[in-house]
Amino acid sequence: MNRSTPVATTLKYLALAGYLVFLAFPLFWLISTALKTPQEIALIEPTWIPNNITFDNFRAAFDEQPIVRSILNTLLVAGVSCLVTVVLSIPAAYVMARYRSVLSRMTLVWVLLSQIFPFILVIIPLFLLLRDLGLYDTYIGLIAVYVVWSMPFALWMLRSYVETIPIELEEAASMDGASKVRTLASVIAPLLAPGVVAAGLFAFVSAWNEFLFALVLIRDPELQTLSLTLVKFIGAEGVARLGPLAAASLVATIPSLIFFAFMQRRLTGGLLGGAVKS
């Protein structure tokens, strides 16, 4: 067994601490800005810790924009998008991994190609399509778009996970009389847990942060998502009301942080589960 020297251990922890600071800085700065007065935000030498902590920015943010409603809207849209993406991706990824054919290879290439199209290229046809289907300005339309947009990457990710699962496990299940669906649900799905969580996180975050589709496809103020609400703190010529924007962004970050914390535990659990079975 290799033993680390004290110097190496110290360097390792220093590197980790540095990385942690790097990762945490945006959140720290967001909190700091949200608690500052406009005068302190405009200081030429920024202060790390607010001199005069104020909650006026939170008051302004909540008074001016429906932050809570937007968060709930976004949670609903992102949560359902995540669920549907995962539910549809698992069997599709399984088929692509296990049933090799020209068609599955072509599908894979198409899945990858679909990722290179910029959003703006498809927005008008998509808009017209959803309008004609009666799905413009509805959650279903927006969720459908998010699912379609997230699925290629989720598929690609899950396909790779399926390929790491030994085929012998399925053969054993088959010998025991399990059907394909039963095998997928009882044998493959649990082993896929880390991949499912990773794909779900990707789908959730994509929908949580998305702006352009929401902007074009949602008009009703009651249905607007968080990104549409946050941008209203930025005006003409890019002038931003930094205090309320930081306060609103901070509040908006909390649900996704909770979701991540929850999902991260599942991710770890899934990884360990897979390790034991293999």
Binding site: P38, A42, D137, T138, V181, K232, I234
Partner: protein, 434 residues
Amino acid sequence: MRSIRFVALAAVTGLVLAACGGGDDETGSGDDGGSGGEPVELSFQTLAWQTASVEANEAIVAAWNEANPDIQVELIQGDWNNVHDQLMTSFEGGTAPDVFHYESTVLQDFGDRGNVLDLAEYLSDEIRDDIRAGAWDTATFDEAVYGVPFLQESQVVFANRKLLEAAGVTLPTVDDPWTWDEFADVSAQLTTDGQFGAVVPLNAPANRILNLARNFGGDYFTDLTGEVQAVFDEADQEVPRRIHEMLYTDNSASPDGIGMSSADALPGFFAGQYAMLPGAIWLRQQIIEQAPDGFDWVTLPALEGESSAQGAVSQTLSVSAETEHPEEAVQFIEYFLNAENQVQLAAGDWLLPTSQEAAQSPELNDPATGWDVATATAENLEMAPFQQVKGFEEWKSRIANPAFQEYFSDQISLEDLGAKLVDEGNAVLERYQR
């Protein structure tokens, strides 16, 4: 068993999706035609974003709805950063709001595409007479009026009064503004170690330079409504040359300004690094909100070249060409932009009202907040010639802004700047004339 699971999964998925379908899936302009005793419904998209302005919009719409039960207006909040894409898409899809807030620079394009209604035959004499003729020019293309102009900005100079008084500088007045030469002299006088006389924010300078070029009669284009050509004659060169001299010959303007927006320059202005800050009148609101206690500032009048003329565009209210209720939409606009309401809208955004009656209000002439100086600039505003140029937005973003930035960074000469604006610029404009 398998089929039961499949049905259950499908049912759950269907229920979840059904639960999400909370939206209104109407795709029209949001009205029922007003038949059968139902009120006419109009959608109005505003771009107001300052707190006071948003509140003014809400209050005006609420007052209208209360006074006009037969014509109900739904207020929709848009945002400046994405409104163009959003409007273009909604025009294509037939879902544009009946009334929308935007700016005069895009109206000709919208008019050419048939997206916006010509209001000429709908407007009353009352509103025609109340709004300044120069403002109407910004929204009138040939004989068509594609919007009602209501807010404009002008350029003034903000100064740290303490620094100017300490240097013995006599402040200019509305009746006796500084010339560009005087401004440069004072800026040089105020420049010391650790302090620049001025900072000129030049992050995206094309609009500002072209508007200020009117001081010297510069218009940067010829044959605006015909086969337009970009030019760069002596009148056009005056403003950029003078700023460049302050940056690199007099060293009286801070080079920090090259990458800055106006708001970016405020921390240095508050800290006394810059004694003067040329900027648009709306910057007063940012100064009032962000300045440290005791910061003594003053709004100085616009600079004078051969004249004090400035190019200006307008914020406008327009009516979608597809609206089913043009008369009602114009009625609402005329109410929304009456003099009393324009005072609230102008005060909320710290911009000039186009209503001559509104401009007389005490609230918009208060010296304590620089309103007296800002309002006085209204008489110098004239239509920015560039807004009639087809292809201007591309000329500005692809050619002019980068070329001006190179010039103000001292990477290219004035001649090189002219070559880029004219040669490369005309190649862009030519595509719009085919």
